[in-house]
């Protein structure tokens, strides 16, 4: 079994406990061995870089150094891959690794700081990957499909990645920066009806609820509006920050705009666990502020649709031929 180093990030211990619980369950089902990096620290989110450059990278550098050290001890075949489940953590780790290599001045300073703690990190030692990437490219869609015991037929889901997974994508791991289809493919394998959600990589507002709430509410509103236009039952996300903003601030957003959206937002590992036949409680369902139960009740109510139906605003045009899909996509 391939072992991966795992960086959970702070949210997994608090606001995203449902993510942690469901990931643990899914990992068991899929034989995914995630070894937590020992004594990891916060990645700094989007805050530290706005204050200090070298300390911000040194903060991330400590995690990289610890992970690399642990990888060396474990010697497992996949142990040089560091998996992050949170988008901001994933980006920060990947960015530090990338910039330390690309800008030697930065790399040298970070290592100089790490040396005080008896640590060091050679950029490129670890492959930094997001959990979704590992699930789709290492575990594979077919294995995920095999494990489905309770297909999510009848559930219309909006796949929502947010920004920091497909962008800036230093290692070219994602199918697209704007309309990546990885999450769609996983959800489709679970039997869900996946809407072609045009806002799938738009921003949830990040830390804006704390800084400029009106800015945040508008970004949240756009996403809710978009998912609603496509008549989604549920928004499925890969990021604790996105889940928090769409879920916890949905009421406040409704109040602000006098709207009445009720769109439960859950983690993709939660719906995976559901499709794998796990008990919803064990997957962290119930911890969402916008109740997901009405949506989940739809499971099994409709036969699976091969393609999303035309219920969204984008009606299929008849008449002149449409251009073919991208050649890269055809290959896959």
């Amino acid at each position: 079994m391939t072992q991966y180093l795992f960086y959970p990030g702070c949210a997994m211990e608090s606001s995203a406990r449902a993510y942690a619980a469901s990931l643990a369950s899914v990992a068991r089902t899929l034989d995914l061995d995630l070894a937590e990096v020992k004594d990891w620290n916060c990645c700094g989110a989007t805050e530290y870089l706005g204050i200090n450059l070298i300390p911000a990278y040194a903060l991330i550098g400590r995690n990289l150094a610890l992970a690399a050290q642990q990888a060396k001890q474990q010697n497992g075949s996949g142990a040089h891959t560091l998996v992050a489940s949170c988008s901001a953590c994933y980006l920060n780790l990947a960015k530090a690794d990338h910039y330390m290599a690309e800008r030697p001045v930065l790399g040298d300073r970070v290592n100089e700081a790490l040396a005080v703690g008896g640590l060091g990190y050679k950029p490129g030692t670890l492959q930094i990957r997001h959990l979704l990437d590992v699930l789709i490219n290492d575990i594979g869609i077919s294995r995920i499909r095999e494990k489905v015991t309770r297909p999510l037929h009848g559930l219309r889901v909006a796949p929502y990645l947010g920004c920091m997974v497909p962008r800036p994508d230093y290692d070219h791991r994602w199918s697209d920066h704007e309309q990546p289809d990885e999450l769609d493919r996983v959800l489709r394998a679970l039997g869900a009806e996946v809407i072609d959600f045009p806002l799938k990589s738009e921003c949830c507002g990040g830390h804006m609820p704390q800084i400029s709430p009106n800015t945040a509410f508008e970004l949240i509103r756009r996403l809710l509006q978009g998912a609603d236009q496509y008549k989604a039952d549920l928004i499925v996300t890969v990021c604790p920050m996105c889940q928090m903003n769409l879920d916890a601030y949905q009421d406040e957003t409704n109040r602000h705009f006098h709207t009445r959206y009720r769109l439960p937002t859950v983690f993709f590992t939660q719906v995976m666990g559901l499709a794998f036949g796990e008990d919803p409680g064990a997957l962290g369902f119930g911890s969402e502020i916008v109740d997901a139960r009405p949506a989940l009740a739809r499971i099994g109510t409709a036969p699976v649709a091969a393609e999303p139906s035309g219920a969204g605003p984008r009606a299929k045009a008849a008449g002149l031929p449409m251009p073919g899909r991208r050649p890269e996509e055809r290959e896959r």
């Binding site: 704007e178 605003p313 984008r314 045009a317 002149l320 031929p321 449409m322 251009p323 991208r326």
Partner: protein, 673 residues
């Protein structure tokens, strides 16, 4: 030449060294006076009798200086330290020739491209210039008088690519009475121009001006038109190329076909036409791409033909009134001899599906520029009606995005040159035919050729709304009232300094031009090279834009970079003129760089025989030695380098010349050590 009485200590060479300032180009970095003085003093023992520096050696006064010294001081070797030999070698050789010195006793060494322009340290640059001069002096001592090679030119020419540039080149040559093979890979000539409806800035109908040219090319007694064909191999050299052309089976007997069109009318198999209709329309499995096609004979597209796929149908065969359909036809390979080749293989349109944020391929009413050309073309899928993808709705508002896939480091970093004018033309056509509101989104408006900016003024006057800003995204996710069911262009209006969302019914992407997908393979067939972005490289971008580094192979049109129709036509004519001048002379002169074998030294080991890719070396069984055929030898020197007996020598690049140059280049090194 008279031999002067010699001091036995002095070498017999009398060398003049001329150091050029090139204004400040060289003199700004290299201390030319110091180089001149050093050469005059330190290289006196190596035969340098005259050393001068001059502001512009290539000026007539500079050349006269050399000529005067040759005549008055009896120089028998000349070294000019100036620009690259690729620029002015000919100039100084000619000057020497005028003064009665064999031109090949002159050596041009580069202290501009390879010294002053690339180095910043004046002292180091001056030192390097001295070393380079010293290398030239040592080398020139071993020069021998040579005569240029004369090669006969076969009077026929191969033109590859039947777009407007290729057609133009073929017609120029044919009209001058020369034989031309015009090879086109599609079933008809015409190229991209045949897809357009109107041409900027005059709004001439493209077909009206192109069709007569196509017909002339098709009927010309001097033009052999080979459509549905591709060049597979090229052998030989300037003057005498042997070219293999694969003619794909048309499955139509051209001698019987009248071009009546019944076969394509009756063919039951509809195929999306990705070439001529840019994917926006259909053709049949047996087809001529468009009504004015030249030649008029259709082809059967084997990949889509029901008979070839399933063994049944044969509708075309049954219904053809002249029995011209021939399913048994096979591909043929033709071999032709030509003296020159003109490549005019054109461009591909950038595929805007790569710019995901513009939604092409996902959002139905986003069109490419070529699709839009087909929409506006009276012969196109909508008979010229500008409508949405549903085939009927006339848009009330249209957004045209410039620079799609151009001027973008994520895709193509260069300006595609035609997109501004093309986008302005589109704006005009939309206005004229639909009265819709038109927005043009641009970074910069580049209207640099004749009557182009006037056209911009006209489009402004017509009320097209210009937004200076590169569109960030095209989306159908409505956010504000009025956006539902529309395509929303989100953009920063950089002149207003505000982000705007502009809902429209139709978006046209002015996609850039890029090299043909198979440009690299084509380059290899013809022994040419492409630049980093994939365009073919000219011999000189300014002074020799239609020649290539391969003698006898010329390029015209978009093969070397984006061009509009006037520029492509001009290049077609220019390439033809270059070819004509050599055909009319009957021969061209080439560098006399050739290998020869000294039979007395040859051990007959035959190593060289297999090294020559031109088959220029053969083994004489009778004498047990190898021999070089100078007509086939191209002068690469590989055999010279490989001969274990040192029996092969190469003119212009002999071992003595190169070894001495190495010594000369290292002279300064020795002094420092």
């Amino acid at each position: 030449m008279t031999t002067q009485p010699q001091d036995p200590a002095q070498p017999k060479e009398k060398i003049g060294v001329y150091v050029c300032h090139c204004g400040s180009n060289i003199a700004g970095i290299v201390d030319v006076a110091e180089v001149r003085e050093w050469a005059g003093q330190r290289l006196a023992g190596r035969g340098v009798t005259v050393a001068r520096d001059y502001k512009f050696m290539c000026s007539s006064l500079g050349q006269e200086l050399i000529e005067k010294d040759i005549k008055e001081q009896g120089l028998n070797r000349v070294v000019v330290a100036a620009c690259s030999p690729h620029l002015h070698e000919g100039t100084f050789r000619t000057a020497c020739g005028r003064a009665g010195l064999n031109p090949y006793l002159c050596e041009l060494v580069s202290i501009r491209e390879q010294v002053s322009w690339v180095h910043t340290d004046k002292h180091a640059a001056t030192d390097k210039a001295k070393a380079v001069v010293s290398g030239g002096v040592e080398r020139v001592r071993h020069h021998t008088p040579l005569e240029p090679l004369r090669v006969a030119i076969h009077p026929a020419t191969l033109v590859v690519g039947g777009g407007i540039a290729g057609i133009q080149a073929a017609l120029e040559l044919a009209d001058a009475g020369k034989k031309v093979y015009l090879v086109e890979r599609e079933p008809s000539i015409g190229g991209h121009m045949a897809q357009f409806d109107k041409t900027f800035p005059t709004l001439d109908c493209a077909a009206c001006i192109l069709t007569p040219r196509m017909v002339s090319a098709g009927n010309h007694p001097n033009i052999t038109l080979l459509t549905w064909s591709e060049v597979t191999e090229v052998h030989g050299y300037v003057g005498n190329f042997t070219v293999k052309i694969k003619q794909r089976a048309r499955h139509v007997k051209t001698e019987l076909c009248t071009g009546c069109g019944i076969c394509q009318e009756k063919c039951p198999k509809k195929v999306i036409d990705d070439v001529y209709e840019a994917g926006l329309g259909y053709r049949k499995a047996v087809y001529t791409p468009f009504p004015q096609a030249v030649p008029k004979y259709p082809v059967i597209d084997v990949e889509n033909c029901t008979y070839f796929r399933k063994g049944t149908c044969r509708a075309c065969e049954k219904l053809c009134p002249t029995g011209a359909i021939d399913f048994a036809q096979k591909d043929e390979v033709l071999t032709v001899q030509v003296g020159n080749i003109i490549l005019a293989t054109g461009f591909d349109l950038f595929n805007p599906q790569k710019v995901t944020q513009y939604g092409y391929g996902r959002l139905a009413n986003v069109f490419t520029s070529l699709e839009f050309e087909r929409l506006t073309n009276a012969a196109g899928p909508t008979n010229g009606a500008i409508v949405l993808r549903d085939g009927k709705t006339v848009p009330k508002s249209v957004g045209i995005i410039h620079c799609v896939g151009s001027r973008d480091r994520n895709f193509n970093n260069y300006c595609s040159a035609i997109c501004c004018m093309q986008s302005l033309k589109f704006a005009h056509l939309v206005k004229e035919r639909t009265g819709a509101t038109v927005y043009n989104f641009y970074i910069d408006i580049r209207t640099t050729a004749k009557a182009y900016d006037e056209f911009y003024q006209r489009v402004l006057e017509e009320g097209t709304l210009f937004v200076r800003g590169r569109v960030a995204e095209v989306t159908d996710a409505a956010r504000l009232p009025g956006e539902e069911g529309k395509l929303i262009l989100q953009v920063e209006d950089t002149l207003a300094g505000k982000q705007r969302r502009i809902p429209v019914d139709m978006v046209v992407l002015s996609a850039g031009l890029q090299p043909r997908a198979d440009a690299k393979a084509t380059a290899q067939v013809f022994g040419l090279s492409c630049s980093a972005d994939g365009w073919f490289i000219e011999k000189h971008p300014k002074l020799d834009p239609v020649a290539t580094m391969t003698e006898g192979v010329f390029i015209a049109g978009c093969i070397s970079g984006p061009k509009d129709i006037p520029a492509s036509v001009a290049q077609g004519s220019a390439a033809a003129a270059r070819v004509l001048s050599t055909i009319d002379k009957g021969e061209i002169t080439l560098e006399p760089v050739r290998a020869s074998i000294n039979a007395t030294q040859c051990s007959g080991c035959r190593i060289c025989n297999t090294l020559c890719p031109f088959g220029a070396i053969s083994f004489l069984e009778a004498d047990r030695v190898s021999e070089v055929n100078p007509a086939l030898c191209q002068g690469c020197g590989t055999c010279v380098a490989a001969c274990p007996a040192g029996a092969i020598s190469g003119t212009g690049f002999s071992n003595d010349q190169i070894l001495s140059q190495i010594e000369g280049l290292l002279m300064l090194n020795m002094e420092y050590a």
